[in-house]
């Protein structure tokens, strides 16, 4: 048990108690939604956890750090930013994955680039975005997001 785990759970319990004093029916409905979403997100979470185990068990850290570690420099960041733009993984499960590659030799910049492009650039949702908001806004938003994700990643590499 680390402090973060306690903090997150206290926060949730606090919100729950506050909600309960406001409206019981709505709180009950919220918990139902929570249980449903938990079981919906469980399989991808378990899949990624198994893959992390295999990754750390079979791929030596030296290999990971060669491709996306400190010595890979800008090309490593670019590579993983592209990967993050194409992949369509929920943010929730990207964090344990990110932590595992960080643990095994990836650079801070690479990890930050991965998470940021993963959430901000959506190649899979781009067609929908273009239909709803027009080509111009959608393409500009995704294109600029890709660039700023790399800028954010590089800044984080410097300050952390």
């Amino acid at each position: 048990m680390n402090p973060t785990i306690i903090l997150i759970n206290l926060f949730a319990i606090g919100c729950l108690i506050f909600a309960f004093t406001k409206d019981r029916a709505k709180t009950k409905q919220s918990v139902e939604v929570a249980v449903k979403s938990f079981f919906r997100i469980l399989p991808p979470v378990l899949i990624i956890i198994i893959l992390i185990g295999l990754l750390l068990g079979f791929v030596p850290p030296s290999e990971i750090s060669k491709v996306i570690g400190e010595q890979s420099g800008f090309s490593g960041v670019l590579l993983i930013a592209l990967l993050g733009s194409i992949l369509h993984i929920q943010a929730f499960i990207s964090f344990p994955l990110a932590a595992s590659i960080l643990e095994s030799g990836a650079s801070i910049s690479a990890v930050a680039a991965f998470i940021t492009t993963l959430t901000m650039v959506g190649t899979a949702t781009l067609p929908l975005e273009m239909r709803e908001l027009g080509k111009k806004i959608a393409l500009l938003r995704n294109g600029i997001s890709f660039v700023i994700a790399i800028v954010i990643a590089l800044i984080m590499g410097v300050i952390l």
Partner: protein, 193 residues
């Protein structure tokens, strides 16, 4: 509206069955690989178990927070607040409202589109969408757990900063290009929406 909801329910059920099948495939794959390389069994299971424990200790709480917001903050509330505000207050609200844990990105697109049609500022909509995509409260909680306070905070601050800059510059670019096309086509409305 009812049938639309039922249709969505059906689709999420289908996706869930697919996900559980995929989990079965992954488990079988892992078991096979570990049978071939039994010397790796120990490190693989310990690593996975550690991550599993960590996840299980925060995931229920994160889901409760999401569930509460999903029920309490309706789409109508979000549209109402975003449509009315502008300036610094508008930017602030766009980030705040986008960061509330209220569902996947594809839910936000139609909202953004209707807000644009109602005359909301492009900058606020772009900021709202980007905040929705990457500054979600439950995501920040999971990031805090796995990557630590320093990592989470610095990425959050940088993201807010750059997303705001991006929103403002996209609005500027779209206005500029619309003006150009409407000048060259003789005042015809050339909005790209």
């Amino acid at each position: 509206m009812k049938t639309e909801e039922r249709e969505r329910e059906k689709q999420t059920n289908k996706a869930m069955i697919r996900d559980y099948l995929l989990l079965g495939v992954t488990l079988t794959f892992a078991a096979t690989v570990l049978l071939i390389f039994p010397d790796r069994l120990d490190i693989v299971t310990t690593t996975s178990w550690d991550y599993f424990l960590e996840m299980m200790m925060i995931l229920p709480a994160v889901m409760v927070v999401m569930g509460l917001f999903a029920v309490w903050v309706s789409k109508e509330t979000i549209v109402k607040y975003l449509g009315e505000s502008s300036g610094i207050k508008g930017i602030f609200l766009a980030i705040l409202v986008g960061a509330l844990p209220t569902g996947p990105l594809y839910v936000a697109f139609p909202m953004a589109s209707s807000l644009l049609k109602k005359g909301a500022r492009i900058s606020n909509i772009v900021i709202f969408l980007s905040a929705w995509a990457c500054i979600k409260l439950p995501q920040e909680l999971v990031e805090l757990q796995f990557l630590g306070l320093k990592f989470m905070l610095s990425r959050l601050v940088l993201t807010i900063l750059f997303v705001t800059l991006m929103g403002v510059s996209i609005e500027w670019m779209i206005k500029w290009s619309d003006k150009k096309t409407s000048n060259s086509t003789g005042g015809e409305n050339g909005a790209g929406i």
